[in-house]
Symmetry: C2
């Protein structure tokens, strides 16, 4: 397929600008909709149009693609809104990371742009300025699947700075794919929080009628402004309709659906509370904010892998890392033929923690002989920790324990709400 | 720790037999309960006692352990029950695999023994003989974490034989850890089923007051006896109380909790129906049984791995297999830095299928540029297939497609209910 040298030229030739309604004919198929501006994350040879049903579609354009102008848009100006500082209101810091929710929608074109300033946010979700003074900056712009330990450290540093400079709370809009990893990481990297640290995402981008971006961001700002929580939490839609959002503990939350707006669930515990009708209702015990200052603990050992057990897992598929999280079957098992490989790694110094691919429930290595054999060779039972949280925690524990015993002790100690008390949830 | 040479001798010296109440003193801790017989799966230096709260505990015995007889049990005879053949009733075949549910409870001692004959089952769950004539044999005795493709093939062969010899249906008691893998495997390995093939398990063993073994087995036999289903299904507790069991399609079911009795869930679809008050109620469409004969399709290529994406996944952790199932984040993403490794493997001939670690929902590689890049290098979107089912299906597809295109086509075709129609479940 030949690629056109310059899509912009092609559009200009036809007198087409962003916001115009166009018809694209490509390999016999016809697409009609509003041309929306090039998104920072889109490929260069792709144009995006918003179809009548509200969905966006990306179309790869080559020289054979026919693009026609249907009608010009009526231009509307972006209404600027001044953001005055009100000394009677608390200040909340928003730190952008590139997720959908940090974007603002250009109402003329329906396009999504990353919000890079408080003004952009004021344009997108003006309601939040009624709740608090907003300080906003962008830490980085990445798809969340590309966010790695380096970014966790960068964010932790930024959060500590904002809180220590006097912000009442911090809101971090974040792509949803790895939001749970980041919320767990910040939970271990930050101590003595002087206010709520609220991660928030959107499952549907701001340009779709079903978007959850505005509701989630408002609720997040509400939690950051009005509560005395001293923990890292995640605020996301609580159900498919728009009635409320849930406040999840950062170490207990998981994206459990690819696309639903209520994809995020608290696992093996209850959510801390909810936000409903602009009111924050906390129903579970939580750690209250400290007097500060916030301590940044920036040590992580990234050399931790996750291994998913299955009937076809082979010894040589289990990598030689400083730490390994096993996602075993059931109560925490792997095929017995793999135990010698695990023993070999443990003897070489690898710390291995067992979690369950069931996701829900607690591992228990005392029930069956496979489990007891795993205990005997030194596998650490991961209690009811999420595999993702256990992975991040092991990175943290490896950087803090002097030896295997200390790392094991840290892994079995509840540091940031990641382990539920046995008496409460044991089955 | 010194190990005692012979636990049996030690018990005999104290005049202790199975069923007696004993007190064990071990490292300062005291355990009192009924001694239950050595379980086939227990370690040799372990005795198991049933505590007063109904739980069993395994205790490692060494020479320092003190064991005292508290009182002798009153012996009760095992009541034999004759199993007459009733020509008016259908016959159901039960094929044992070593799971908890295939065990029978010795009511004198509370011990669990693997049931190896119809007589054992009659002793354990006599109710099933009221429903149908029972033919029983044991295919193998393994913990389900050790059940591998070789056993799937053995089971498929046994099922085909039983159905082709005239059984109305087949019931397979199976350990719960990998029950979903086996049910998926049988779904692809067997065609033109002449009756229901019902896998069933127990989350709590038969000796515990909370056992689900009897209810589940009765319901499974009911489904195998009274329905015209021509599919592989899984019958398990539907909720934590004892009100009903659910009938799950074999390719859509997953163990979603380590210990709850209602751990098994149908994912991305509805269960086919339920069994309540001894009545089978089917509520969803299903494949009806064929006139037969059952076709055994015994080709599998085991060289398929599962890789769980995470921020710390490294290129060298992605093994060089004929097939790979990726458990991506969100709609089906991996860190962009890993795409060159995937492209290298695909160029060398690896078939890579994307599923989601969200478990619920459908992958969609068209929404973001990471997904489009994965499509471009040849990653196959796994629709809404469970990762475990996709793994088994890829083993099957690799053994049936002549080339990449054929394997890809098979993976994207709904063969055994593993892919839900887009119109119904797409979000």
């Amino acid at each position: 397929m030949k690629k056109t040298k310059n899509i912009e030229d092609k559009l200009k030739e036809s007198g087409i600008e962003n916001g115009d309604t166009i018809r694209v004919e490509k390999q016999g198929e016809i697409y009609e909709g509003v041309l929306i501006p090039h998104h920072i994350f889109s490929d260069k040879d792709i144009i995006t149009i918003k179809l009548k049903n509200g969905y966006n579609i990306g179309l790869e354009i080559d020289d054979e693609t026919d693009i026609k102008l249907i009608h010009k848009s009526k231009k509307k100006e972006r209404k600027e809104r001044k953001t005055f500082f009100n000394p009677d209101k608390p200040t909340v810091s928003i730190i952008g990371t590139g997720g959908t929710i940090a974007c603002y929608v250009d109402y003329r074109t329906g396009a999504v742009h990353p919000a890079t300033s408080a003004e952009d946010l004021a344009f997108s979700v003006p309601e939040i300025f009624n709740i608090s003074n907003i300080k906003a900056h962008v830490a980085f712009q990445l798809f969340s699947e590309d966010i790695a330990p380096a970014q966790w450290l960068q964010l932790a540093e930024a959060v500590a700075k904002e809180l220590n400079q006097g912000s009442h709370g911090v809101v971090i809009p974040h792509g949803t794919d790895t939001l749970g990893y980041t919320s767990a990481a910040l939970s271990f990297l930050l101590r003595d929080l002087t206010g709520p640290v609220v991660l928030v995402g959107a499952q549907r981008s701001s340009d779709r009628p079903s978007t959850d971006a505005a509701l989630n961001l408002q609720a997040a700002v509400q939690v950051a402004t009005t509560t005395d929580i001293g923990e890292v939490v995640v605020v996301m839609h609580g159900e498919s309709s728009d009635n409320y959002t849930l406040i999840h503990r950062g170490t207990k939350v998981r994206k459990n659906h690819t696309s639903r707006r209520d994809a995020f669930k608290t696992i093996n515990d209850k959510p801390l509370g909810r936000v409903e009708n602009n009111e924050v209702i906390i129903t579970e015990p939580y750690r209250k904010k400290s007097k500060g200052p916030v301590i940044l603990d920036d040590k992580l050992d990234e050399d931790v892998g996750i291994v998913y057990s299955s009937p076809s897992l082979r010894a040589e598929d289990i990598p030689d890392r400083r730490g390994l999280i096993l996602m075993g079957t059931g109560l925490g098992h792997v095929p017995n033929r793999l135990i010698p490989r695990l023993e070999e790694l443990i003897k070489k110094g690898t710390i291995i923690v067992m979690t369950s691919q069931c996701i829900n429930g607690r591992v228990n290595l005392n029930v069956y002989s496979t489990g007891r054999d795993l205990l005997r060779i030194g596998v650490i039972p991961g209690e009811d920790m999420l595999p993702e949280t256990a992975c991040v925690k092991l990175m943290w524990a490896l950087a803090h324990g002097e030896n295997k015993d200390e790392v094991e002790k840290l892994m079995l100690t509840n540091i940031a709400g990641e382990i539920s008390p046995r008496s409460r949830w044991n089955c």
